[in-house]
């Protein structure tokens, strides 16, 4: 199934990947570009993780809960037990997934706007707890001096991820590719058809043998886990977190904006959104409008909804199938 045109797609993918691997060799000392592109891939991964659940048709406005719990889970574990960040980051993912399981238990019967509002509200619970549990989390002061990503050693190859912006860029590129792979597997498999059937007509899907409850549970858990991982990486990348930063609406809403812009139903849609919008915002709008640059996201989402209701990627897709 769906094998038509997969060869050119693979060629495009490899060409684009090569570009993102090679460009740092052309701009040897551009800290700004490295930083922006690292965060671009970071938000791309976040958007992909978010979309794993959004594919079921349920739009979450509360993924900041998983993100913040992942960030705090990973940072606190490394702070108190001095564990390597590469071990605490997966732990952050697990903390996010646990909260995802709780969501499923409580919100399982909610759909559409009621689900979105419930998720929006659910961010407040972990935020308030962490804000007030000062003896353990340092509350609203935030957690400062989180161990940075430690140096990786592969035999004679030593990569100082903590200091080198370039190394951080490649690390995030790899991480995003991993999430992209998972997103692809989720969409283009038997599972993907179950998700699609339940998105398009949930009652009919269950009557045709699709275990809709399990699909909701599994995709939510996976999405929460991956978002928790993103939170963990963010904590160690920044070295500083505080509740309003990681539990912010910005973290919940940005994946939605990027995904809607790039294309919700495309494997690369959320990442495409990040690759276009984030550099545009940081490199262009930020210098033009230092204060109100995030107006770009508002503007873009309105334009997308008006002119590309299925995302900018759907336009690329259409041209490809037409030719």
């Amino acid at each position: 199934m769906m094998r038509t045109g997969s060869k050119p797609a693979a060629i495009y993918f490899i060409a684009i990947l090569l570009f993102f691997i090679c460009w740092p060799f052309l701009f040897q000392n551009s800290a700004l570009y490295y930083r922006v592109m690292t965060m671009t891939f970071f938000y791309g991964a976040l958007a992909l993780a978010w979309n794993v659940y959004a594919l079921t048709g349920n739009i979450s406005l509360g993924h900041a809960a998983f993100f913040g719990l992942g960030a705090y889970g990973s940072a606190l574990l490394s702070y108190y037990w001095h564990t390597s960040p590469y071990l605490t980051i997966p732990f952050g993912g697990i903390v996010g997934a646990l909260y995802g399981a709780l969501w499923y238990a409580v919100f399982r019967s909610l759909r559409g706007a009621r689900f979105a509002l419930a998720t929006l509200a659910s961010v407040e619970i972990p935020r308030v707890i962490i804000d007030n549990w000062e003896s353990f989390t340092f509350g609203s002061l935030g957690l400062i001096g989180i161990s940075s990503l430690t140096t990786l050693r592969f035999g004679s190859i030593v990569i100082a991820v903590g200091e080198s912006l370039k190394a951080q860029y490649y690390l995030l590129l790899c991480f995003t590719l991993l999430i992209l792979f998972i997103h692809w597997k989720v969409m283009k498999s038997k599972w993907g058809w179950a998700i699609r059937a339940l998105r398009e007509e949930e009652t009919a899907a269950s009557m045709l043998g699709v275990n809709t409850n399990f699909i909701h549970f599994a995709t939510l858990l996976l999405s929460a886990f991956l978002t928790g991982l993103c939170g963990g990486i963010y904590a160690h990348l920044m070295g500083l977190i505080e509740p309003p930063l990681v539990f912010s609406l910005h973290i919940s809403a940005l994946p939605l904006v990027l995904t809607m812009f790039g294309g919700r139903y495309l494997v690369y849609g959320p990442l495409l959104g990040a690759l276009i919008l984030y550099p545009l915002d940081q490199l262009l709008f930020h210098s033009l409008l230092p204060v109100g640059h995030s107006i770009l996201y508002g503007l873009m989402i309105i334009l997308t909804l008006l002119f590309f209701p299925r995302g900018i990627g759907s336009w690329v897709q259409k041209r490809k199938t037409a030719s």
């Binding site: 058809w193 269950s206 009557m207 045709l208 275990n211 409850n213």
Partner: protein
């Protein structure tokens, strides 16, 4: 648990369904034998669709038990009931609108039957089922582009894709031309010949009286009469339920 009876392929035992204290099914007992064609008739709101929903697990009964093929399916989730061999169509068609007609059928094959995902014969099998309901020519179109009556036929193909033993067809004859009704009657008989058991509802009685072995007349969530089509249709009580004059019943 009562003793396991061998008589009915599908058995409802004192099934009661309430929505917010409104009774939709009132302690209904019904049995359908293997390879029987039974039609449920009754005016709007009599409980026909609720009966279908409760058999398929979409609505859980407040009280009572449902047995299928000698298994208690009362508390099973819908997908499990489907895999056990019960399939249905909906009164108002519920296709997957963005999927192609063929993909709609493939979902039934992959999840409802034991068909392997990605097998070589799946598309041919889907096409065969679409042939049965005269939709082969439109198999590449998105399901939302079909007319309403085509969407209803697609539902039959999709339900058959789950390789059911028991098929529930909700309002089979609605919106069909006289010619199409004749074809549908042939299809229903052919399915029974292949070993299926069928439960139908039909608001207008045009089709069901011709193919059914038995009619079950519902009114206000209760069975008011059941028997051979001729007997039931001549009953004064059934006629008055349809006409809306409700005689006071002696209980």
């Amino acid at each position: 648990m009562g003793t396991k009876t061998q008589n009915g392929f599908l058995e409802l035992r004192n099934v009661r369904v309430e929505f917010d204290r409104r009774v939709a099914l009132r302690d209904m007992s019904l049995h359908v034998m293997k390879q029987e064609i039974v039609s449920v008739i009754g005016p709007n709101g009599a409980g026909k669709t609720t009966l279908f929903n409760v058999i398929c697990g979409q609505v859980k009964p407040t009280d009572g038990a449902i047995h299928f093929n000698n298994e208690d399916i009362t508390h099973w989730p819908p997908h499990r009931i489907c895999r056990a061999g019960v399939a249905r169509t909906f009164q108002i068609a519920k296709p997957f609108p963005e999927m192609s007609v063929q993909q709609n059928v493939l979902v039934g094959l992959w999840f409802g039957s034991k068909k392997q995902y990605g097998s070589l014969t799946e598309q041919a099998e889907a096409e065969e089922l679409l042939e049965l309901v005269h939709l082969s020519a439109k198999s590449r179109l998105p399901a939302k582009d079909l007319t309403l009556s085509e969407q209803r036929r697609l539902e039959i193909a999709r339900a058959l894709a789950t390789s059911p033993q028991f098929l529930l067809l909700d309002e089979v004859a609605a919106g069909l031309s006289p010619h199409a009704i004749k074809e549908m009657a042939e299809l229903i008989k052919a399915l029974r010949h292949q070993g299926l058991t069928l439960l139908l509802t039909d608001h207008f009685l045009t089709l069901t009286s011709k193919v059914s072995d038995r009619l079950v007349a519902l009114d206000q969530g209760e069975i008011i009469m059941e028997g051979k089509p001729g007997e039931v249709l001549q009953s004064a009580e059934v006629a008055s339920a349809y006409l809306g004059e409700r005689p006071t019943r002696n209980l």
